[in-house]
């Protein structure tokens, strides 16, 4: 067996065998797991409806009526700074993921479909990049970017997120699995340049894999804390993660800020939850398939 689809739609595979007796144990265990995972989410839904005085006094899961007051208060905080953080997060994650997906697709395509000197070296670099994540290097990255005056700008967060060794690794597998050599050969026979063969023939064939790479990178950047925390000093450039953890720090002296932290946390997870639920079918990632070689 050659290779190795890393991501494959699974719904079609494995049709349910004859309907089997349902097991109460399985149901109870799964519901317990779901309850554990939903607990903080349910809490933040309830807590964001509480006023500052109720937050620490009423029963944990007793809802109140102050959700819109809390949102209005959060919005008024320093002229809507919170919403700026949300926009910043969207810019970092959307821009960073889009560019890194294209960069990864090009590199993965080259590594899967061409033979060239240095291919082995390129692959080992990718592997090293997967095994040693760049965030460990956030401090030296900061020191280097400071030398060229790019710290405390959007670029300080965007540029390092343009490169994703894991994205390249995935794209290499997608290109190998989904783009047949004959199709590329045919495109070349018709006089297409290498770039045209890539952009008009290979990219559309790799599309569903590229959506997965984009989502991976989007979530990684959206969730990243250390890089923007180190790179940015001006709080108007913060993504929502760094902004909210700063707000929590203020809670120590202004307890009213706790309500804003809670409400802000709730609002900040809505976009990603929606993105997840709508794109769930792209999350059928089979990390291990890359390793199965019989």
């Amino acid at each position: 067996m050659a290779v190795t689809t890393l991501v494959r739609p699974v719904a079609e595979v494995a049709p349910p065998v004859a309907r089997r007796r349902s097991s109460p144990t399985a149901t109870v265990l799964l519901l317990l797991g779901a309850a554990y995972c939903l607990l903080p989410v349910v809490w933040v839904l309830v807590a964001s409806t509480k006023s500052a005085s109720e937050l620490f006094t009423t029963f944990t899961f007793a809802p109140s009526t102050h959700l819109f007051d809390n949102i209005a208060f959060l919005t008024s905080y320093r002229d809507g700074l919170y919403w700026r953080w949300m926009v910043n997060s969207a810019v970092f994650a959307g821009g960073g993921a889009a560019v890194s997906t294209l960069v990864s697709a090009m590199a993965g395509f080259a590594m899967a479909k061409y033979d060239f000197r240095g291919k082995g070296l390129a692959f080992n670099l990718v592997l090293a990049g997967v095994l040693v994540p760049a965030v460990i290097l956030a401090v030296p990255q900061y020191l280097l970017l400071a030398k060229v005056g790019l710290t405390n700008t959007y670029w300080a967060v965007l540029l390092p997120s343009f490169i994703s060794p894991y994205g390249i690794y995935l794209c290499r597998i997608f290109a190998a699995a989904t783009v047949p050599d004959e199709v590329l050969e045919a495109a070349r026979m018709d006089g297409a340049s290498d770039w045209r063969a890539f952009s008009r023939v290979a990219l559309p064939m790799m599309r569903s894999g590229l959506v997965t790479v984009f989502l991976f990178q989007f979530v990684a950047i959206w969730n990243n804390y250390m890089l923007p925390f180190i790179m940015l000093g001006d709080d108007r450039l913060f993504p929502v993660t760094v902004g909210l953890s700063g707000l929590l720090n203020q809670g120590a002296t202004q307890p009213a800020m706790y309500t804003s932290v809670v409400t802000g946390s709730l609002l900040s997870i809505i976009p990603l939850v929606v993105l997840f639920l709508t794109l769930q079918r792209y999350w059928r990632v089979d990390l291990g398939a890359g390793a199965v070689k019989a």
């Binding site: 799964l30 690794y169 250390m226 929590l248 900040s268 291990g288």
Partner: protein, 298 residues
């Protein structure tokens, strides 16, 4: 027909970015880790402070720092809780879903995956509040039956409190990875066993788990790498707890040395040590299990 330069042109953006944001920082960190500031005279005025070679003194200072070893041990203990806890839970949930003997499969799968959409910082904020005795429902429940619950953020519990956040955040993603691998197993592999009367548990242990071994290895590897760089959770919990020091994890120490103490040389040395240790551990693990994951040939 094929242009010989084409693959290099396709690789150029990735190579440039790799050089600038991965290779250069590690080289620069290596350089800085061998340098120090020499102060001449009273250290006043221009030219009184100059950078000189320091040999390995930054490394010996960083490795013998009384706070470094405890932070490494702490992350080791944290990893021993998080990695088996998270993957064990993910595997059990994935097997239960795959056995298909429940009507709540779609709902529970979505619910358990949901925390992946919550950034570590937000997860830490939410759990951080839930840990506060005034908010915690667990404290309410336990005091209802006459037990005084321990403070989750006290020094003896805080490691578990942080580990719980990581387990909560990571179980769903790993479950989906393992579940996808399980769904891809051809049913013929275990139909015969089932007809022979093997139970679901036996099928899971004898057939399913060995078959998805490669997926388990990959999830283990990625969990291990994520554990070594834990930063966001303890940093976020710090305002709620006075038991998390500024050097609670190795990466927190790098941050403190670089930005609080302005000692970039020591921070660089520690960064190099962490990067090297991460590489040795993750690469060593791949070699140890003899995994052909990441093998190059197609």
């Amino acid at each position: 027909m094929r242009t010989r330069s084409a693959p290099y042109l396709f690789l150029t953006p990735a190579l440039v970015l790799f050089a600038a944001f991965l290779a250069a920082p590690i080289v620069y960190a290596g350089y800085l880790s061998l340098r120090r500031v020499k102060v001449s005279g009273l250290g006043l005025g221009a030219g009184a402070r100059s950078e000189v070679w320091a040999g390995l003194s930054n490394y010996s200072r960083s490795l013998t720092d009384p706070e470094f070893v405890p932070s490494v041990l702490r992350v080791g203990a944290y990893g021993l809780i998080v990695v088996p806890g998270m993957l064990g839970l993910a595997l059990v949930m994935a097997l239960l879903l795959d056995a298909g003997r429940t009507r709540v499969g779609t709902f529970t799968r979505t619910a358990i995956f949901l925390p992946y959409a919550v950034p570590a910082v937000i997860a830490s904020l939410l759990w951080g509040f839930l840990y506060l005795p005034r908010v915690s429902p667990i404290v309410d429940v336990l005091s209802g039956v006459g037990i005084t619950a321990p403070d989750a953020l006290s020094s003896s519990w805080v490691l578990y409190a942080v580990a719980n956040i990581a387990i909560w955040g990571g179980t769903g993603f790993n479950m989906i990875v393992l579940y996808t691998a399980l769904r891809a197993i051809p049913t013929e592999l275990f139909e015969a066993a089932r007809i022979d009367g093997a139970s679901d548990v036996q099928i899971a242990l004898r057939i399913k788990i060995p078959v998805i071994g490669p997926s388990l290895i990959m999830t283990f590897l990625f969990s291990l790498i994520a554990t070594l760089q834990v930063f966001a959770e303890p940093m976020t919990l710090r305002p709620l707890s006075n038991t998390i020091s500024t050097t609670w994890t190795p990466l927190m120490k790098v941050y403190r040395d670089a930005f609080v103490r302005n000692d970039v040389y020591s921070a660089a040395a520690t960064s190099v040590v962490i990067a090297a240790a991460t590489f040795v551990i993750s690469y060593g693990f791949l070699k140890l299990v003899g995994s052909r994951a990441f093998s190059q040939e197609n």
